[in-house]
Every structure is written in C-alpha cells, then in structure tokens.
C-alpha cells in the first residue's frame, strides 16, 4: 500500500499555493445570518449562505473550519448539512478542519474517529480538533486512522477564552500545563513527519497571549499550529506572527465571525454579505502577510 500524502504537507502546500494562511471558521449562528438567509427551519437558509460563502472563499483561503456545535444545534438535518458542507468544500479544493473538540477513549474515540476521519465519500474532514484531558488514549485512534488516510488532528494546548487559565496555566515543576500538553503533542505526532518536518498532531494555541504562542513555537518546531482568537477575540496580526516558524511555515490563523459575518449590522448585508466575507478574508491575510514581512525585515536588520 502506498503511503498517503502527509496532512500537514497538504495544508502547508495549499497555503503556499494560494499565498494565504487564513482559516475561515464556519460558525453559523442562525441569528447572525443576513436577513435574506433566515429561514424556517433555519437549516435551509444556513445551507444557502454557507455554500455561497464557500464558493466565494475557495481561491482566497486554503482551509475552512466548520464548528460542529452549530450544526448539532440544528438536529439530524444539521449533522447531514455538516457532512455535505465538507464534501462541497473538497469539490472546491478547500481543506477542512472539523472543529469537533471531541474527548473520549478507546472504542468510543475509535467510533468518533470513524465518524469524522473515516468516510470515503468526500465528507471526512482533513483534520479534527481534539481535547487532551484523557491523554493519548483519546488521540491515538484518530492518529491511527489518519495515518492510513492522510489526515491529521489539532489538539487543544492553550485556548483563547477567559477561563482557559483555570487549568491550562497551572504550573507543574515550573512548567505550565499547556506547555506540558504541547510537549505531549509534539511527541504524539513524531511518528509521522512530512516534507515540511511537521508531525501529524497539530496544536490549538490561542492568539490572545502572544508570549505563550512564542514560547510554544520555539519549544515545538515540529508542531503545526491552529490559532483561534484573531479579530473579535482580540488577537492582532502582530500578535499572531509568533505562531510561524522563521520560514513563515507552521500555522493557520482562524477567524470565524470576522469573515463569515463580515456584513453583520450593515444595511447591504443581504446583497453583499458573501462578497464582504471574501473581502474580509483577503484583508486579514494581507494584514498578517505584512506583519510577517515586518518580522523578516526586523530580523534582517539586526
């Protein structure tokens, strides 16, 4: 059997090809849709809106991140839409991070892995997000199926929310828990490295604490980062450059509401909401690219 292409080679190469490191989060709060897409039942309008945005983004972002909670909230039809959206994204050559943050063990984790990385009809995500609280038992079943199918995972290390510190910043023998988790992630992914030297186990690291981002980036050069918290949550372009290696590889930066609902509150949201989402993704990418160039210039100057 031929080895599949490494998932983080696929992601990094797609970033380079499009010249974009933006991950567009698809968090379809039904109440935030442009009025023209608010339907009863909501799933019909959500579908129309997401498919339109998907098409508009396909040549400007390498990857989307649907948040399954908003689909789960729509019941079984919402779950059907979640998988349909992934199939459609693949038709548009977009990669998909399924933001499922699942956490379970053994045969249960294997069932989740089969559900999300197993389908052979195009509806398997390329990556899923996972929670580390149960240790490697909760991660291994996903890596196992991913190593056969060319898919990977992102495990939560340091999240961007206010109460993240309650557990994640606790200090054990001088090392914060999130850094312990980072070390575990680097190790868990080490069995399969791609041409860009990343393992198949990425990390979720929030944009809201740039000093933590820098510390983890330096400590774990073989871990690809998914960085939430840009924009609405306070992370700036200057903050997020810390997520990238010196060769500007190794991270995608997520924005959800800032892209999907870029038209929110504007009188022309119905007519131009989709176009505004595309423009927001382009602008965000330019802003981060400029910050990366500034970093390079600053380094060359020293």
């Amino acid at each position: 059997m031929q080895s599949p292409e490494h998932p983080f080679d696929r992601l990094q190469d797609r970033c380079r090809k499009l010249g974009s490191i933006v991950c567009a989060g698809f968090d379809p709060h039904p109440g935030d849709l442009p009025a023209a897409f608010r339907t009863d039942p909501p799933v019909t309008g959500v579908r129309r809106f997401l498919f339109a945005v998907l098409e508009a983004l396909a040549d400007v972002v390498p990857v989307i991140k649907p948040q399954i909670a908003f689909f789960e909230q729509l019941g079984a039809d919402g779950i059907a839409l979640y998988f349909e959206l992934i199939r459609e994204a693949h038709r548009e050559n977009l990669l998909v991070i399924g933001d499922i943050k699942r956490s379970d063990i053994g045969s249960t984790a294997a069932a989740y892995a089969a559900a999300h990385l197993g389908p052979t009809d195009g509806s398997a995500a390329d990556f899923v997000t996972l929670n580390p609280y149960l240790g490697l038992d909760g991660i291994a079943p996903f890596l196992e199926i991913g190593r056969k199918t060319g898919r990977g995972v992102f495990v939560l290390a340091r999240t961007s929310n206010a109460s993240a510190a309650e557990l994640q910043d606790l200090v054990i023998d001088g090392v914060p828990l999130y850094e312990r988790v980072g070390a575990a992630i680097e190790k868990w992914g080490s069995a399969w490295r791609g041409t860009h030297r990343f393992g198949d186990c990425g990390a979720v690291v929030g944009a809201t604490h740039p000093e933590q981002l820098a510390r983890l980036r330096a400590a774990f050069p073989s871990t690809f980062f998914l960085v939430p918290g840009f924009g609405a949550q306070g992370g700036t372009a200057t903050d997020v450059v810390a997520a990238f290696r010196a060769d500007d590889a190794g991270a995608v930066i997520n924005s959800s509401r800032g892209i999907l609902f870029a038209g929110k509150g504007r009188p022309d949201a119905d007519a131009r909401g989709v176009e505004l989402a595309r423009q927001a993704a382009i602008d965000m990418n330019r802003e981060i690219a400029a910050a990366l160039l500034r970093r390079k210039a600053a380094r060359a100057g020293t």
Copy 2:
C-alpha cells in the same frame, strides 16, 4: 416562574424508588449486537435492539447513559436515533445522561447546550457529560440552561482509562490536577443545591482507582458522582462503595458492555440477549448493594 425540581434530587429519588444505583451505558458497537439485530444499514437493527433493552431495563435501573459517539458514527440517522432514544427513555420514566463529553466555550458551548439540554419534545438529556480543560467558560452555558429546565451536568474529574494519569495526575502544589478539577466542580455546582444537598454540577470519577474515589468523596460531599469503569474495566463492587456518602447517596455506577452486551458470545444471545441485559443490571445492583451493606456493618461494628 416556579423553580424546576433539582436534577440530582430527581436522580437520587429515582435511585431510592427503584432501589438501584446502576446506570446502564448504551454504547451500541454495531459489531457487538446479537446476530439477529445486525442489519444493513446498521441503524435499523441498533434501534430495535436498544428499544428492546430499554423496555427491559425500565423498572430495574434509574438511568441510562447513551454514548453519542456510536450514534454519530451512524451519521445523521444515528443522531436522529440518539434523540429518539432519549424521548423513548423518558416515556419509560428512565432518566438519561447524554455521554457527549463536549468541550467548547462561549456561544459554541451555548449551541451545544441548546442542542442537548434545550429540546422541549422530550429529547433533551437530563444530564450531559462535559470536559473541564477550558475552564468554567465551557460549563457555564450548560448550567445556565439547566437551572431553567431542571437539568445538570457531570464534568470529567478522574477518568478510568490507562492514559488518564498523563494530565490528570500531575501534581500542582501537592494537589493532583483531578482533585483541583474536583474542587472547581464542587464550586461550579454550589449555586443551586437540592434537598439531598448536591449541587447541579456532578463529577465523573472512574472506579479503577478506589483510593482516588475515596479521597474525592471525602473532599467534595456536595458533588454527585458518575462512576464508569465497573466490570469490563476492572472496578469491583467493593471498589465503588467509596463513591457513596455515608447515607449511601451520591453516586450512580455505570456499566456499558457488561449490561448491553451481557449475552455476547453466548449461543442464545439472539433469543435471550435482552433478558440477559436485564439480569446483568439486576445482578450488578445486588452486588453493589451487598457491598454497601458490608460497609455499613463494618462501620457499626467499629
């Protein structure tokens, strides 16, 4: 508005009424079904089997715990079945712990809470399991909706799997992480106590380390415990008595495969699988009740 009945009063009272502290885990691995229930697509047979077991258990267990991963694995039809099963359980006066172990924050956690504790057609679980890694932000949206609807949560403290120790047993200033989490759980649930003095935030504590169970029970008298790991995973009746307060309240003990697939490997599994599941639940409850009596006798004797 009248306050709803406290969720852990409902659970404790149901345990007393039936004289049972068994939680029957519904983890429908399609491959483990009696042959007569293996269908293509699997969801049809899974449905028939689970509904039959549900009916057989209704007067011998207070609560069931469907594991959503096995339903998610069956796609959108599986999710529809998950919610249908909850409705049917409620018709049989069974309480339901939705084993979802979700972990997310803010509006995303609110979407999960709406999906699982929000439905008004009988398909809302009475409790869901949650992961603590993101702190209170990941729990609060569930407590908020639960305080309006009389529902509660169980948060993972110490799980029963082999790699649980990787994070959960790390020691911070002399206190293991799982005990820190236990303290957070006791605090998170303290805003709403029922007649039995339990808060509305329960804890998942595995049966496989009785000394941890005893330590947490002593430290957190107002936290109701959900105890997995009995039977197949190695926890015995003597191990699990540590989960109960001196008044024998405060815990339900889960068994999944040991009940649902009690007939597995037996030649009469097709004909008697459902009856064997019922008998397994009765036997398990008797065994634990006997161990509780032994504890009481030992205490009276000292």
